[in-house]
């Protein structure tokens, strides 16, 4: 079966040859092995053309070996299981995996859009800002076509079958990156007894060691890795997360890690119910952090450097060692530093012909140069690869001698055929997390890279990510960072000997940011810096020419670093070319801002389990199950679900509400009002405190008395309302609106604690303790009497607006003679555990009175008939009690919160919007809620508006519709006609009336 895998080496690699598997790419089937990535398997099969570039549609192949890959952006899977934009270099091969290239139409190979490449010069940086402006209306059309070219992969077409979860974790030391440096740091910390989390985004620990033939203590380096990992796994307080990417480093040493837990095929095999967690988001609070992310190799910037077959040297070594894949037969290696020499050795060792090492440094390499010579690999020092031939695949390298002068022109004097060009432009430490955490960067001129500088949070960097390029230095640096971390935690660092490595000293790197070409930088063939966004040297020069000189402007004008790799491959080259163009030193140009996510993170993983039914709690009353069984549709009120109406025999909302309303008006109804907020207020200063926050005179209330009360914000606007009952001299019971319950308690506590700590008052929330059953209607008293109440309920013994404790049907309750419907009514407060029982008993006994359960909608109609407001519906944040006609509630004798604001000029305006009632002139039209009110019809915009409808219902009791509205100066305009002007409808003539439509004198509730 390996027959198809022409580039697969017969031996070696960390693949599992006993587990061959098949996958497909662009519809064609291929073979690979467990342990392959999609990229390595494709390379093994000789597939080199993997996509097209974003703007110019140039053919592209694999460049890198991991997160820096800009080209191999794949669509994996289909339908609900589709995964857009995966990097082939990061996709673990699994059986049946189906991948497609994301760019190129009709196919990757023959892309019609490729013609765009010829227009490259017109399509320079920012070209779209300069055109498509005329004719004005055409932008829509232009944009239509521009958008068709947008994006790489496709979003799935149906909801995600995967499960995600969040996990909170705490540790002493978090180590990001499990290469030699990270492993060493983790070992050090763990041996000191610290709680350690070690996360690495790869499948296996080892980092760069996975990809090389390194030795530690005379044995293969991976043996040392295996030992370290085994030891860490044994430690009780150490957590190892492979496939775990630290993607965010936030303030206060909070880090976020996304861990891929299961492969797609394995997850799907389990079926929906038992589907395992696909990805887990770790939310980690770490005391110290060691960043050991390693370094990214940089490509070199020469003409046509984007041709498939031009690859990072370290990636080539990785494919050879880790995956046993030889990406080319005849290679040229092009470098400005020593590291790529190892790739040449690796290539030769794997049986490839290394036609030449082209080294831009006149002096060539250090000690490793000798080994290369021994292998017979020719080295062209002081030379550069200036251009390549080949379109869909490199066919040869054009080589020129170079004097070292940055922008000079060169002449190609030598062409070497090759199908692989391995390049190295040096290494950039992955300072991403360090920078996200607010750490500074320092330019190192000798190593030509930014190093992590001063940190803002308790973190440290180690290894290649800290500019240590040799294995020995990485191990030592990991040890140092691990020790520093545990010392900072007050632990004793263990003694660990640095394992021995056998490396020879390297010759220094030499700057080569842009490889000179035969023509100047504006006229030579394209030299790519950001492969994904087709940003070239010429684009950067154009941006500078046009005044976009700041690195952030250049980024935004040329899209440098905007792609899915976020500049991991090209940014430093881009900044250096910018610096050279501006004639400034690189550190003065600086970098763009590093941001999360380090690599892209699925929305689903970020969302975790709080989606669907768990998106937000649904709060349920003790009677919820009864309501559900009765078939009541629910209304969402804040987090609560409340029954909206109780339909019978297929009634619709209107029929049910009319029936419920009449039942209350004519006999008796019952409503679950348990969601009201309830607060117990106690203490010698209770009156004093309530006087300060409520507007009315609290001290005049005798024990046993209830009063309607409102709370104002300090801005004088109505914040909440409810009934207040005085239970004793020093004890009150407050109710609040459903939505305001938590807010009011917090507000009261805030004033008590911050402003008036001297007041002796205790507040206790009883919202959950008591359920509230509102029994309303002329037969409500009879009903309770029938049920069995141990206190007299007649008008004289228990008058309106009073409270009593009692025993009802043998259960202890508080009875409030308050009414939100205008009828004789009792609000029964009972411990929630007993509420279902009492409700059932009431329903039983109530049969005689046709006791009718009613929902929020009926409650709204009944209260609107009385002209009672609902805070939040008839008010918004701009309504004062005066606007509502509640002056009678505002004490003149005392100060209260918000009082001063009512005296501001705007609050004294006569033409403020005031609460009124409305009747439609035609009689039968229900005016839409939200409708704006105008004085005259037929005006042209902008039409002055004088108010709006806040509540509107058909009143079954009155036999006609009613509405509440806020109208400018409304109270003085009774009898006037206005027009409601709902969108798309004929204006409705309405008359301003008193908001008290029903029983305005209140006789019915006083009986």
């Amino acid at each position: 079966m390996a027959a198809g895998q022409a580039n697969r080496l017969p031996r070696g690699g960390r693949i599992d040859r006993s587990r061959p598997l098949r996958f497909s790419f662009d519809g064609k089937s291929y073979a690979g092995y467990a342990g392959d990535t999609l990229a390595s398997a494709l390379l093994a099969n000789g597939v080199s053309l993997l996509g097209r570039s974003f703007k110019l549609r140039r053919p592209r192949g694999i460049v890198g070996g991991g997160a820096e890959e800009p080209n191999a952006v794949m669509q994996v899977g289909e339908g609900a299981a589709a995964r857009p934009n995966l990097l082939a270099t990061q996709v673990e091969l699994e059986p049946g995996l189906a991948a497609r290239a994301t760019r190129g139409w009709p196919s990757t190979r023959f892309d019609i859009g490729a013609a765009l490449d010829s227009f490259g010069r017109i399509l320079g940086a920012g070209f779209y800002y300069k055109t498509f402006k005329y004719p004005r209306a055409w932008w829509k059309l232009y944009e239509h076509f521009i958008r068709r070219a947008a994006g790489f992969g496709k979003a799935p077409d149906s909801p995600d079958p995967d499960r995600y979860e969040h996990r909170n974790a705490h540790c002493d030391v978090l180590v990001a990156g499990g290469g030699p440096a990270g492993l060493m740091a983790a070992l050090t910390a763990a041996r000191a007894g610290a709680r350690v989390i070690l996360a690495d985004d790869d499948v296996e620990f080892g980092g760069s060691l996975l990809a090389g033939g390194d030795a530690i203590d005379g044995a293969p380096a991976m043996d040392w890795v295996a030992g370290a990992v085994a030891e860490l796994r044994e430690m009780p307080d150490c957590r190892l997360l492979s496939r775990g990417t630290v993607f965010g480093y936030h303030d206060h040493n909070f880090l976020t890690i996304v861990q891929r837990c299961v492969q797609e095929a394995d997850a799907a095999a389990q079926g929906p119910a038992r589907r395992p967690v696909a990805e887990r988001l770790w939310r980690v609070r770490a005391k110290r952090v060691v960043l050991a992310q390693g370094a990214f190799e940089r490509p070199l910037v020469f003409c046509n450097n984007d041709r498939p077959g031009v690859m990072l040297a370290s990636a080539v070594s990785g494919y050879i060692h880790r995956h046993a894949v030889l990406p080319g037969r005849r290679a040229v290696v092009f470098t400005n530093n020593d590291s790529a020499y190892r790739t040449a050795i690796d290539l030769a060792g794997a049986g490839a012909e290394v036609a030449a090492i082209v080294d831009s440094r006149p002096g060539g390499a250090g000690a490793i140069g000798q080994r290369v010579k021994e292998l017979g690999i020719p080295v062209l020092a002081g030379h550069v690869v200036s251009d390549v031939s080949g379109r869909r695949r490199v066919r040869g390298a054009g080589i020129a001698r170079w004097t070292g002068e940055p922008w000079s022109a060169v002449e190609i004097t030598l062409r070497i055929d090759c199908d692989l060009l391995a390049v190295s432009g040096g290494f950039s430490p992955a300072v991403h997390l360090h920078s996200q955490a607010g750490g500074k960067l320092e330019w190192d001129e000798s190593q030509l890279c930014f190093l992590p500088g001063e940190a803002r949070q308790p973190h440290d960097s180690a290894g290649a990510g800290n500019g240590k390029l040799s294995l020995g230095d990485c191990l030592a640096d990991g040890l140092r960072a691990g020790k520093a971390a545990v010392e900072a935690l007050g632990l004793n660092p263990p003694e660990i000997e640095i394992p021995a490595t056998n490396e020879s000293p390297a010759a220094p790197i030499k700057a080569l940011w842009r490889v000179p070409a035969a023509k100047d930088a504006d006229r030579c063939p394209k030299q790519f810096i950001d492969f994904q966004n087709d940003t070239t040297v010429a684009d950067i020069r154009l941006a500078v020419r046009e005044g976009y000189r700041n690195v952030e402007h250049v980024k935004r004008y040329t899209a440098l670093g905007f792609g899915t790799d976020q500049g991991k491959l090209g940014n430093i080259n881009g900044m250096a070319v910018l610096a050279e163009t501006l004639g400034k030193p690189i550190p003065e140009v600086g970098t763009t801002t590093f941001r999360p996510a380090y690599t892209p993170v699925r929305f689903g993983a970020g969302a975790g389990e709080s989606v669907g039914a768990l998106y937000d709690p649904v709060r349920k009353t003790a009677l919820h199950q009864w309501h559900e069984a009765a078939g009541a549709p629910m209304e969402v009120v804040g987090q609560w679900h409340r029954p909206r109406y109780f339909p019978r025999n297929g009634e619709d909302l209107h029929a049910a509400v009319a029936r419920e309303c009449l039942a209350v008006r004519n006999s008796v109804g019952i409503m679950d009002a348990s969601t009201l907020g309830k607060i117990d207020v106690r203490g010698p200063d209770a009156v004093n405190f309530l006087e300060r926050v409520y507007t009315h005179n609290v001290d005049r209330m005798k024990p046993g008395r209830c009063a309607y009360g409102i709370l104002l914000g300090e801005d004088g606007m109505v914040m909440d309302d409810g009934v207040m009952a005085r239970l004793a001299e020093d004890r009150f019971y407050l109710t609040t609106t459903t939505g305001g319950a938590a807010q009011v308690l917090d507000w009261l506590e805030k004033w008590l604690q911050t402003e008036w700590p001297e007041l002796e008052v205790w507040l206790t929330s009883l919202t959950e303790q008591f359920s509230t059953l509102a029994v309303a209607g002329p037969n409500s008293r009879a009903l309770l009497e029938k049920l069995g109440c141990d206190i007299p309920l007649d008008r004289e013994s228990f008058p309106f607006m009073h409270v009593r404790t009692a025993n009802l049907a043998g259960m202890p309750v508080s009875l409030f003679r308050v009414s939100f419907s205008g009828e004789l009514a009792f609000e029964i407060n009972i411990a929630s555990g007993l509420a279902p029982d009492l409700w059932r008993k009431l329903m039983d006994v109530g049969r005689e009175f046709e006791l009718t359960p009613y929902g929020t909608e009926t409650m709204h109609v009944l209260r609107a008939e009385k002209g009672f407001v609902i805070v939040g519906q008839d008010t918004d944040g701009s309504v004062t009690p005066v606007d509502l006609g509640m002056n009678w509630l505002l004490s003149k004798e005392k100060d209260f919160l918000g009082k001063r604001s009512l005296a501001r000029p705007d609050c004294l305006r006569a033409d403020r919007k005031q609460l009124v009632g409305l009747l439609s002139r035609a009689g039968c039209t229900v005016i839409p809620e939200g409708a704006q009110l105008i004085e005259r019809t037929g005006q042209r915009a902008p039409v002055p508006m004088c108010g709006h409808v806040t509540s509107s219902y058909h009143s079954a009791s009155l036999g006609h519709p009613i509405a509440l509205a806020l109208v400018a100066g409304g109270r003085g305009r009774r009898g006037e006609t206005l027009f409601a002007a709902p969108p798309g409808r004929e204006p409705i003539a309405v008359e301003i009336v008193s908001p008290a439509f029903y029983d305005p004198k209140g006789g019915r509730q006083h009986v």
């Binding site: 303030d251 805030k750 604690q753 911050t754 001063r900």
Partner: protein, 103 residues
Amino acid sequence: MLLIECPWCGPRAETEFSYGGEAGIPRPADPDALSDAEWADYLFYRSNPRGAHRELWNHAQGCRRWFVVERDTVTNRIAGSFRLDETVPVPASAAEKQPEQGD
């Protein structure tokens, strides 16, 4: 996600707390004595510094106590948490921050 030290419960995650705005704005003793502008200053005007900020937090999901935190509004570094009945030390420097890259 900040780690905020509740003076009673110790360090807890930001999500357990609610924010109460600038600390140390006492309610005027006699609001009626204030001009509209003075009242507006109390109601709406805030010092909103770039740098050290004294602010109120409530341990809403914990002990429900209000307390004062001194936090740097640029770095989010917290200099200390204080109970309301503690005398809060004078800040070392309430001076405005100098510009900082990447804030």
